[in-house]
């Protein structure tokens, strides 16, 4: 547990810059996605085991709070995918290490570029679905 406290405290103190940020983001997005995965497998399995429950779960997913959660989830998955791809590439091709900083920041930019249209589309779905638009 001491290690956990150190990680949280040093997040603001230790100047690991973009590398530390990338690592922290990878960890948080991964853990968040696993948490959602657990619930998602259970509720999706209800389509077979308990259709009434599945209908209830899908109603819950249409709640505004879950729609916001969906937006966060897509960002988490997208970030984890792109940052993970960078880690894989750098591990398999060590000659890329000299571009580590540029690749990390480039990854952040790519996430932003890909997430913007996704965010707008999900926002439009949300406004339409909730009868606001």
């Amino acid at each position: 547990m001491k290690g956990l406290l150190t990680t949280v405290r040093e997040l603001f103190r230790y100047r690991g810059q973009e590398g530390q940020l990338a690592w922290m983001g990878h960890r948080l997005s991964g853990l968040g996605t696993v948490l959602f995965f657990t619930f998602h497998v259970i509720d999706t399995s209800w389509a077979f085991f308990w259709p009434e429950g599945y209908v209830h779960a899908l109603k819950l997913y249409k709640h505004p709070l879950f729609l916001l959660g969906e937006m966060v989830l897509v960002l988490a998955v997208l970030y984890h995918a792109i940052n993970g791809l960078r880690v894989v590439l750098m591990d398999f091709f060590p000659e890329l290490w000299q571009y580590q900083r540029r690749l990390t920041i480039g990854g952040f930019v790519l996430v932003g570029l890909l997430y913007t249209p996704a965010f707008l589309i999900m926002g439009a779905h949300m406004l339409q679905g909730l009868d606001i638009l």
């Binding site: 259970i42 399995s45 996704a118």
Partner: protein, 136 residues
């Protein structure tokens, strides 16, 4: 030459558990990226949660065996990738061997439970929606 580049003179094949976990995380990651981005694209961008309902899932998604296989791949590869990732985080922060062992055993049971639940549902789900009572 080897001395100049710092490359090892002989490739050593390491096949212990941790190295295989390391390999699995990278290789499964490469597989999961297109699978999961495709999943998000179809269900969250092209369609949305407002299009998804019980009949739709049974008829249009699980009605096609290919989507069941797709979902099974996601379940197994992403599930194992995710929980091996949690294992990595736990090994970073929990240093008490006893506590760590308990967490690992519980987590292994959760993984087995989820894999069974998901796999049985993917195999067993009907191809025609069953009549369900109207939910108010």
């Amino acid at each position: 030459m080897a001395a100049e580049t710092g490359a090892p003179a002989r490739r050593v094949n390491i096949n212990n558990f941790e190295t295989n976990v390391w390999r699995y995380m990278r290789l499964s990651g490469l597989l999961i990226i297109p699978l999961l981005l495709g999943h998000l694209l179809i269900l969250h961008l092209i369609n949305s949660v407002f299009d998804v309902n019980y009949e739709w899932v049974i008829e249009y998604r699980w009605g096609l065996i290919g989507w069941r296989i797709y979902d099974a791949f996601l379940l197994w590869f992403a599930g194992l990738h995710g929980f091996l990732g949690v294992r990595c985080v736990i090994r970073d922060y929990v240093h008490d061997a006893q506590v760590r062992r308990v967490i690992m055993v519980v987590m292994a049971m959760v993984v087995i439970f989820l894999f069974l639940l998901g796999t049985v549902a993917l195999i067993g789900a009907p191809f025609e929606p069953v009549e369900i009572p109207v939910v108010p």
